[in-house]
Symmetry: C2
């Protein structure tokens, strides 16, 4: 299993932000020993998204070389609740909820990681905290100072804002740090918001006479709305469990300026292709649309295979061409001063009965300048060149007399 260590790191570099202990990482990769890669999670209801998967794919790459991912379910620490990124104290979870979430986590992780025992091991931190007595825990606490903990940006922010930090939350990083010692972690790959806690892991390993783990952080990538990160509460993410259709659709709605970043961190497209896609996206219009099609196809291929990607491409093209307004749209002259939706439709489709037209409106098949109108008696605001669509393939241009 001896690998060209530098080559391994170069492959990972595409999505690496920082490495704490880079020399150690080279040494350990060169040793030929399978590394233990800590992948620790809280057992809250999971919904892994493309952002999480960046780290998972790095781990998967290491698994493919024979290294082992130790998937650590923080079943005990979940009862505390990771205060990261939270401005308020989190409600605690029951043991039953934790077990349900743990099972769901495993299902989702398996969408990227290999789960054969040679390269995958599941542990729970209740294994060491469950039997630990109060005096031993306080002994761990004696290894860490108050100043070290409140230096953490998130705690500082809460203190500055006058918001509460419960004492159990203050101890969370200590427990997460000690996990690294207890599970003999060589390496952990985390988002940069976990850097503080994992550096405490190095602190404990050194204090307790073990070699400190290497900490790799990945860049946090923006949400599909251009927000700072993908987040469940903002609903601006692409879940690993999203259908191929949803993944494809969400990527097609991406702001043009994110195409290159997404292609770099969420696909394995060659970096030259990534740059080309970024260039096309910057042009806008049909070029940007085509770049997104290629990005969306690459992401769907990664998770669902080339067949699924092909199917989504075809479907999108079909719908898109159906939805496009034809170039020659017949004009309809309306003489009513402030016409209702029904009156517009009567003018456009004089052969249809009023009840048919009302049904069409109520079904949601009528849009006025792209906005659905479902009330026949609504008086929509009309522009000089308003487009009325009724049914899938009928358009009229409204001219007011």
């Amino acid at each position: 299993m001896i690998q060209d260590a530098q080559a391994v790191i170069d492959r990972l570099r595409r999505t690496i932000d920082t490495v704490i202990g880079a020399e150690d990482l080279l040494d350990r990769l060169r040793s030929g020993r399978p590394l233990r890669i800590k992948y620790g999670v809280d057992c809250t209801a999971p919904e892994l998204h493309l952002g999480h998967a960046v780290n998972l794919w790095m781990m998967r790459g290491l698994q493919d070389l024979g290294h082992k991912v130790v998937f650590l379910l923080g079943d005990l620490t979940t009862r505390i609740g990771d205060p990261t990124g939270r401005s308020e104290t989190r409600p605690t979870l029951s043991p039953e909820e934790i077990e349900v979430n743990a099972a769901a986590f495993l299902d989702q992780v398996a969408l990227v990681l290999r789960t054969d025992p040679a390269v995958f091991e599941v542990r729970r931190n209740s294994e060491w905290y469950g039997g630990m007595d109060v005096a031993t825990l306080l002994g761990l606490f004696s290894q860490v100072t108050h100043a070290q903990l409140v230096a953490r940006d998130m705690f500082r922010a809460r203190i500055a804002a006058g918001r509460e930090i419960a004492l159990h939350e203050l101890t969370y990083p200590v427990l997460q740090g000690y996990d690294s010692f207890a599970m003999k972690s060589d390496l952990t790959i985390v988002g940069s918001d976990q850097l503080f806690n994992e550096q405490l892991g190095r602190h404990f390993q050194q204090r307790l006479g073990a070699a400190p783990q290497v900490v790799v952080t990945s860049t946090i990538t923006p949400g599909i709305d251009g927000g700072p990160k993908q987040s469940k509460s903002l609903r601006n993410y692409i879940a690993l469990t999203d259908s191929p259709k949803d993944k494809f659709g969400k990527l097609m709605s991406l702001p043009d300026d994110l195409v290159e970043t997404y292609a770099r961190v969420y696909t394995e497209l060659p970096l030259s292709t990534v740059a080309a896609l970024g260039g096309s996206a910057a042009v806008g219009g049909p070029a940007a649309r085509d770049a997104k099609l290629q990005l969306a196809a690459a992401v769907v291929t990664r998770y669902h295979g080339a067949g699924a990607a092909r199917a989504e491409l075809d479907a999108f093209t079909r719908v898109f061409s159906e939805r496009a307004e034809p170039e020659d749209i017949p004009a309809v002259v309306v003489s009513t001063a402030s016409p209702t939706t029904l009156q517009l439709l009567q003018a456009a489709r004089p052969d249809d009965s009023n009840s048919e037209l009302r049904r069409l409106i109520r079904q949601g098949a009528v849009t006025i300048d792209g906005t659905k109108s479902t009330d026949p008696d609504e008086k929509p605001t009309l522009q000089p060149d308003t487009i009325l669509r009724s049914g899938r393939r009928t358009w009229h241009r409204i001219r007011l007399r």
Copy 2:
């Protein structure tokens, strides 16, 4: 056991500073139920002094009415170390050291408290912390916020000074607080430096559905050197284990302006007598000395009985009269410009041989204005009216020509 509750409190009031929950105290005293009085200690090497005994005598008074002192050995929390009043983190103690200290504590406490099981119970907080698991402890921590803890004056001072607080020290008040719940404390009588921790006790009892303990604090009384409090490190205290002779002697060395305070808090002399002693002390000279004799006799009586006090009074009077300078001291004229101690002695005692005089000096039997001179060739600084004493009962007044 129904008592006039207000009368009980009035008796205690002499040494009470504040009462948190005064109404509850009245109600509970009126209930007729024997109260559980928390007396919690750290199992560090004890040396109880008169300052500690103020609280013990209040508890003793309640024991005499049938209430029970629950002597809580903080054997587990001692392994953390109470950070109160400490600017540095304290080294932890071994279980063996803790047991030795606990035994010594019981011996000293028994100098004031009654130890019959009807009114005295010994508990250890390892009883509840020993079997507690990590999740339960963290549950306790969730009841307290970081802001509550760092509000404590001692923590604030350390933070301001940039000194370290280890995380385990930050948890100390929480554990001391929970003790009150676990041991069903009705009342605790503490120094005002423990008020914060014991208020956390009330917090836990309320959170966990129990009635909160009453917290009585006593005033902290000054050290025998007039310093802010009696303290082991300052060696300015009167230990309960000091001999009657040492107690008596230390009290005779008290600054005049402390006589009234000491008489009020360390004796049961009537308050009118206390006031009179304060008045005499303010006069100074023999009046102040006599006031201290009365104070010292009252304190020794309290701890060792009237016989011991009488013996110390007699001994002190005897030594004092021996030491006092007689009113008519013969003058000696010395003509040497800057005489040595030997030359002074030769002038004062012309009949003694030089070797006899040298021996007297070397034995330490010679003082010049009260300062011992043990070197015959020393040239002491002489005042216009210097008193030379040689041997126990020989004085001379030096006149320089």
